[in-house]
């Protein structure tokens, strides 16, 4: 299950929520999930870059 599944499920669940506060929580989670995926990609890229840093060999 990846970011796309999370986003899709959050969007589907949001339409079932009658309470404004609950929809806001799901919307904020969607924004968070987008940023988290970006941070994971960036972090993984940085990790690869630092592990393969030839100056440290």
């Amino acid at each position: 299950m990846d970011e796309q599944w999370l986003q899709q499920t959050l969007a589907e669940l949001s339409s079932k929520m009658p309470q404004y506060q609950d929809r806001a929580l799901l919307a904020a989670t969607q924004i968070y999930v987008t940023e988290l995926a970006q941070r994971l990609t960036n972090g993984q890229g940085e990790l690869d870059g630092r592990i393969w840093n030839h100056e440290q060999w």
Binding site: Q21, A28, L40, G43
Partner: protein
Amino acid sequence: MRTLILVAHPEVANSPTQQFLKASLPGSAELMWHDLSASVGPDGRFQREAELALVRNAERLVLQFPFYWYSAPFILKQWQEQTFTGEVEQYHDLAGKELVVVLSLGQAETTYQAGASERFSLSELLRPYQAFAEKLGWRYLPPLVIGQFSYLAEAEKQQLLIQYQQLLTLPQPASFSERGIWLAQYLRTLRLTDPQQQQQLALVATQLQEQVAEYQDLQEQLREIRAGERD
């Protein structure tokens, strides 16, 4: 986190911003909404002992107000002066609390900086509240600023609601990971009528928590590598 929200507004009931914030309060947390205009006595005075008892009981105090002439409405000053009378030494037992300002503006937040139309930054203009906190031995937290509430788009209002809830309930300043764990915890409190959807929601919360844990591990590895690098 026992949080006391001191609302300083002459007409809370007619303020869309204050009503929005009031409706945003999370139900489960130990919060107290204290409308100062409704608490002042008919003689125009606050009951000092009652106000001090509220302060004493709180771990975090929120000063929540609109910006009138670069300051809070008069009622907040009145509360400060009538509650904290006499020598500051008598308030030593209150040290260790946290203070945060929740500020609503008629202008965009970006206008409050050098070179922009308001010319001075909010950190400069809010200095008296920071000084008040520091004099009492309280930790001053970064303010939550709401610029032009009535112009916010629906998605921005939803984002504000969650920011406000996190400000009230999370240790501050909250890290990115802490905010993610908070979201997962709050997702688990939601109730749906359809059991299948309820299960999906639980799965979302679990997935989110696992991804946050993965992010934390990644950050930890990066910290170790950075610390070991020699340039």
